[in-house]
Symmetry: C2
Subunit: 355 residues, 2 copies
């Protein structure tokens, strides 16, 4: 599976490098910013889901290559805007868009302090806006070739009227969480946020591939629904695994400070469960550590033990396992071929990863 | 013409109020932010251009109502993101999106200083992103009703592959101007910026209306080109008039501090021309006043006289007149009916307005 995933990544890299959308963008550094994240590589999970879902129904995964690229660029713009929103200065080990553009303004125009921050943010907003158009441009390029006008319009309708409001509402709810008390946030709200912010795009990727593979514009077909549910559930499992890594991963493999979710008081299902399931001094210790960026390693160790001993860790592990089982169950109802096997292995990969 | 323009505004208001796209957006204040600028009214010039261009060829302007609404919402999202970029705290006499959302975060979540600024910006970024989807949603709603799939895809292709890169490159060049020396910026660059940042959307509005009116997906038809050129040239005249108002308008009618373009060192063709055409002490005075927010009224008065006496004012007035003549010439080649008359009068209105 991993070698197949690598091949998809190469196909996507090549198609994105060749695509002419960014060519006319000015100034040059805005064009480069539009290209930066997309050419920085990555696992290309979303394109793989789209192409394998297409292959599952047609044995021709490449028919979904351009739409898969569209989905990758869609994912990219959300990262660019998220990085501004979260004030993150790095992305995949390199500078984030707004930070990069901030430094460009310092070098080119000798902007100072607040002016360079504003410049970086402004151009990163425009970068994400252009990538929104680039995503749709890639989809339109597949129209009339790999798919009919009807299918194109159906996919666009889903992207615009379902994916956009859900994904951005999910992002908004997540930003809002930072400003609310943990005790006022319900598990249901966290689950909805996870589904909308990340799950919807994975579901969209799978459904898009299925429509092309089945040569239909109809989202209501059982097989389209099943592959969509597969992706949504596998995505949820992926995120629950992320919750666990956010507390238990070691720095070298995770690329973030150990216990990062505790230090930043990230609102996750694991932390919410731990607050519900622990009590007394343990609960007090947990509350003290949440949001404490200078938490000691000893405090982190105790936090990890509390989250484990109260049963929250195994509850989330169990939940992730159930999501994967549900995902695999949806998949099992679909044609049995090479691509179903790849998707099945991808689901396992998502919760086995350690970083 | 003005009563017809008012009727268009009412139709657009009604269609936007009825549209279901914003319904599912959460949290509630994000939904309200998405609706805020669109329901704040405005002249609806772009919808009028689209609908009258449609009427010109079909006598049925209403067939372009939904696409006209799409264009208005497209315009809206660029304003929301521009207001963040320009750090403007008001829009049409009320709070700008990011300022409004900043105050909401202070009230709801008691955020302080920098955190509330960040919150306001973040949610305004998401507001503009959602409006991008809303614009396309309105276009898709017209598909299969007021226009064929082919026409829809052709309009989308133009929006995505021409309008987006041009408009956002124009915006980027304008932001860059602030960081460059005026003497290094050429008149051609300023003209390109004006055409891209504002002209392209007006051209797109006219062409979209024409495609629907002519029931064609072909942008290369002479009549589609002519109506597009009409809108581009009328738009240029509009902006040159804006340059003049930015120096000569009085506060009460203009809604901005008198001589605003001088105080903020805005890069306009009028100011560029004045720097080229004046010399000695006059040039020195001009240079001293540019970017001086505390400039006295006496200094402004002298600046106004310098710009007039050196010939820059009449050069720009002449240029605006030529643009309107060129626009009217393009229009004169098209069918002579009620809608041609309305567009002709609209062109006059654009350069006669005093505020």
């Amino acid at each position: 599976m991993l070698s197949d995933l690598k091949r998809i990544a190469e196909q996507v890299d090549k198609a994105l490098t060749r695509d002419d959308f960014p060519e006319t963008i000015l100034p040059d550094y805005l064009k480069e910013a539009v290209l930066a994240y997309p050419l920085r590589g990555g696992k290309r999970l979303r394109p793989a889901i789209a192409m394998w879902a297409c292959g599952l129904f047609s044995n021709k995964p490449d028919s979904a290559l351009l739409p898969a690229c569209a989905i990758e660029i869609f994912h990219t713009w959300t990262l660019v805007h998220d990085d501004i929103i979260d004030n993150d200065s790095t992305r995949r080990g390199e500078l984030s868009s707004h930070e990069d553009l901030k430094q460009i303004s310092q070098k080119r125009f000798a902007t100072q302090a607040e002016a360079s921050e504003q410049f970086g943010r402004s151009f990163a907003i425009l970068t994400g806006d252009l990538q929104q158009a680039w995503a749709i441009s890639l989809l339109l390029k597949a129209s009339g070739k790999d798919m009919s006008s009807d299918i194109t319009l159906s996919i666009l309708d889903r992207m615009i009227n379902l994916l956009y409001p859900r994904l951005l509402s999910g992002e908004a709810i997540d930003v809002e969480f930072e400003h609310r008390k943990l005790e006022d946030i319900s598990e249901d709200e966290i689950l909805t946020m996870l589904k909308w912010k990340t799950g919807e795009l994975l579901q969209f990727a799978a459904e898009t591939g299925a429509l092309i593979g089945l040569n239909t514009a109809n989202y209501r077909l059982d097989s389209v629904k099943s592959i969509g549910e597969f992706a949504m559930d596998a995505g949820l499992a992926f995120q629950l695994q992320d919750d666990i890594l956010g507390v238990y991963a070691e720095e070298e493999e995770w690329g973030k400070p150990v216990g990062n979710d505790i230090r930043t008081r990230k609102v996750t299902l694991l932390i919410k469960k731990a607050l519900e399931m622990s009590e007394g001094e343990d609960l007090q210790h947990l509350m003290n550590c949440l949001g404490n960026v200078d938490m000691s390693l000893a405090d982190l160790e105790r936090t990890r033990n509390i989250i484990k001993d109260c049963g929250a860790l195994s509850a989330i592990e169990e939940m992730a396992k159930e999501c994967i089982e549900k995902a695999k169950d949806s998949l099992s109802q679909l044609p049995d071929n090479k691509y179903r096997k790849l998707l099945d292995e991808l689901a396992d990969f998502l919760i086995q990863r350690k970083y």
